[in-house]
């Protein structure tokens, strides 16, 4: 879909200041620049003709989508359009559901993750995931973050301490929990729990971070914190986020993909998709005519 990456231009591009929020209807933005930016980056994840089945049910139809590195890609669409299904294909989370099947290819750094002999455990260390409902383990805050590194074989206490602090800082939670790392994670508020889950996902040092409606169960203030966080994290990670709210997609993402009834209807730079959608369905959805 897109030509191979030009890594040498990367640093220059990431150094450029990004607009903090992308307003819904402002036509003065230089779209071509944004589009070039997306195309110039290495493509971290490339889906080619992905079809996905739950038993007999054909859920995803011929989805081809490139996800550029160090960008935020938002997957939007009405409920039941299978955007979460697509997200869960990227770390093979759907493998856990009986009777599912995928055809086509999903490349992570040019390697097909669905080829036989793929080590799914290794894959999931490189592709972290944050879920819609925060799901901290019923363990201490420390143990939650240390879980990933521990199963990866890190046993040294000092090393774990370091990872836990680094990830909690990255997830903007360190200040709030530094003095009670041994407390149960279930005592945290909803927003804190979700940031803990983000810290936990960062602790395996993934390249890609998948987020399935990470803020849908949170109040506006916690949502804003998560969005700030996503904005900061994209310098180090490639982020794919499923979201129900158009505004969130517009605020946090660089690229937006619109799914409808299991098909990828349109994908492009977020500013383009929101200001001059090419497809009628996209326009109807983002202007709130359905969905």
């Amino acid at each position: 879909m897109t030509p191979p990456s030009k890594p040498q231009s990367m640093t220059e591009l990431t150094a450029e200041p990004k607009p903090r929020t992308l307003p819904l209807r402002r036509t003065t933005v230089d779209h071509s620049r944004v589009v070039d930016d997306l195309l110039d980056r290495p493509q971290k994840v490339v889906a080619r003709d992905v079809n996905f089945f739950y038993g007999e049910h054909h859920a995803l139809h011929d989805v081809s989508l490139s996800i550029p590195q160090n960008c935020v890609t938002a997957l939007i669409g009405p409920s039941g359009c299978c955007k979460s299904t697509f997200l869960r294909c990227i770390n093979r989370m759907n493998d856990m559901i009986e009777g599912t099947r995928l055809s086509g290819q999903i490349l992570l750094d040019d390697v097909d993750i669905y080829r036989p002999r793929t080590d799914v455990v290794e894959l999931r260390k490189r592709v972290g995931m944050v879920f819609q409902k925060s799901n901290p383990f019923p363990k201490s805050i420390y143990e939650n973050v240390a879980y990933g590194p521990k199963v990866a074989g890190i046993r040294q206490r000092s090393q774990l301490d370091e990872i836990v602090e680094k990830c909690l800082r990255r997830a903007a939670l360190w200040e709030e929990v530094a003095d009670r790392l041994a407390a149960s994670a279930l005592q945290l508020s909803g927003g804190q729990q979700q940031r803990l889950c983000i810290a936990r996902a960062l602790a395996t040092d993934p390249d890609v971070l998948l987020m399935d409606e990470p803020a849908s169960a949170l109040d506006p203030k916690s949502t804003a914190r998560i969005e700030d966080l996503i904005f900061e994290l994209k310098d180090s990670y490639t982020i794919v986020i499923v979201t129900h709210t158009m505004k969130q997609a517009a605020r946090v993402s660089d690229q937006t993909a619109f799914f409808y009834e299991g098909r990828l209807v349109e994908v492009g730079a977020t500013t383009d998709v929101f200001t001059k959608p090419r497809q009628r369905q996209t326009e109807d959805y983002i202007t709130g005519r359905f969905g």
């Binding site: 894959l123 879920f131 879980y147």
Partner: protein, 309 residues
């Protein structure tokens, strides 16, 4: 709207309808049903208490609880419950040592590893195992288990505590498996997914997340199973022998509290004598032990369970 006098206006709406006798009648009948179980429970506890009190008027509680010889029908009679308690403890501990690891293992297998087909076959089989009458287990212990135990340990008595432990372990196994499996399966799917998403293997997820999350329920299932083992009567009466003695050697013949009660109730000790009243004192001790285990299990379930919402 304003005209058209309402036809129904003259009919009384609220009062004077047909009297519904059925409602209060059913209410009362159901209340009686509920009351019956409470009444029976209280009565049993009262009878136990009153009869035991009669016994403890003649034998001091200290002697009863600390005595190391149980010879209620000898002269002079000695009423130290420790040998019987020791017998119960020996059988129960042995059964727990065998049944807990096996039961937990089977529960984890059924909940985490078994395919739906395997589970659909294994669960009903376990339920059948739970439904086998305990007297059958008792003679199986004598006919099959005892010879095996004696071929492995030639010094073992024909009736011995190990027989009883093995057979009681088999009896409480379905309870542990079924209760533990329920709590394991009720661990939210989201927790499992969260762990898998971090690159955990199935073993990591099971041992590091699912089992710890279900631990309170698992512990409660152990306690309920142990309470069942303490109260188990028929199989241990047949398998363990009837020699009350203070020993921790599972190969010797012993007597449990339940087995003593069976023996004395069926025996020729005249009613109203001190020897006869021992069964109430022993019964009360048993009751308190199982009650404590049940209360502890309930407490663990209520206070240690992690809240996921």
């Amino acid at each position: 709207m304003s005209s058209a006098p309402s036809v129904t206006a003259e009919k009384p709406v609220v009062s004077g309808g047909p009297r519904r006798w059925g409602e209060p009648l059913m209410h009362g009948l159901l209340w009686l049903c509920a009351l019956a179980s409470v009444f029976v429970t209280i009565s049993i506890v009262l009878i136990l208490l009153v009869e035991s009190l009669e016994f403890f008027r003649q034998v001091s509680v200290v002697e009863f609880l600390s005595g190391t010889v149980w010879e209620p029908h000898a002269t002079p009679a000695r009423f130290g419950i420790l040998p019987l308690a020791c017998g119960t403890l020996l059988v129960t501990a042995g059964a727990a040592i065998i049944a807990i690891p096996m039961g937990l293992g089977a529960a984890i297998y059924l909940s985490e590893y078994a395919t739906p087909v395997v589970r659909d076959v294994l669960k009903p089989v376990l339920e059948i195992l739970a439904g086998i009458p305990s007297v059958v287990f008792g003679y199986l212990a004598i006919v099959f288990i005892s010879p095996i135990v004696r071929s492995l340990f030639p010094q073992a008595d024909v009736f011995n505590a190990l027989n009883a432990s093995i057979v009681v372990a088999i009896m409480i196994l379905p309870m542990i498996v079924s209760l533990s499996e329920d709590v394991l399966r009720s661990v939210p799917r989201s927790l499992r997914e969260g762990a898998y998403a971090l690159g955990a293997t199935k073993l990591d997820v099971t041992a590091g997340v699912v089992v710890p999350a279900a631990l309170s329920g698992i512990m409660a299932s152990f306690l309920l199973a142990i309470a069942r083992a303490v109260g188990e009567t028929m199989a241990v009466t047949l398998a363990a022998g009837k020699r009350p003695q203070l020993t921790l050697n599972p190969l010797e013949s012993i007597q449990t509290m339940t087995a003593y009660i069976v023996e004395t109730t069926k025996g020729d000790v005249p009613r109203g004598t001190l020897g006869y009243q021992t069964i109430f004192a022993v019964g009360l001790t048993l009751f308190l032990a199982t009650l404590a285990l049940n209360v502890l299990a309930q407490w663990i379930l209520k206070h240690m369970r992690e809240k996921y919402e």
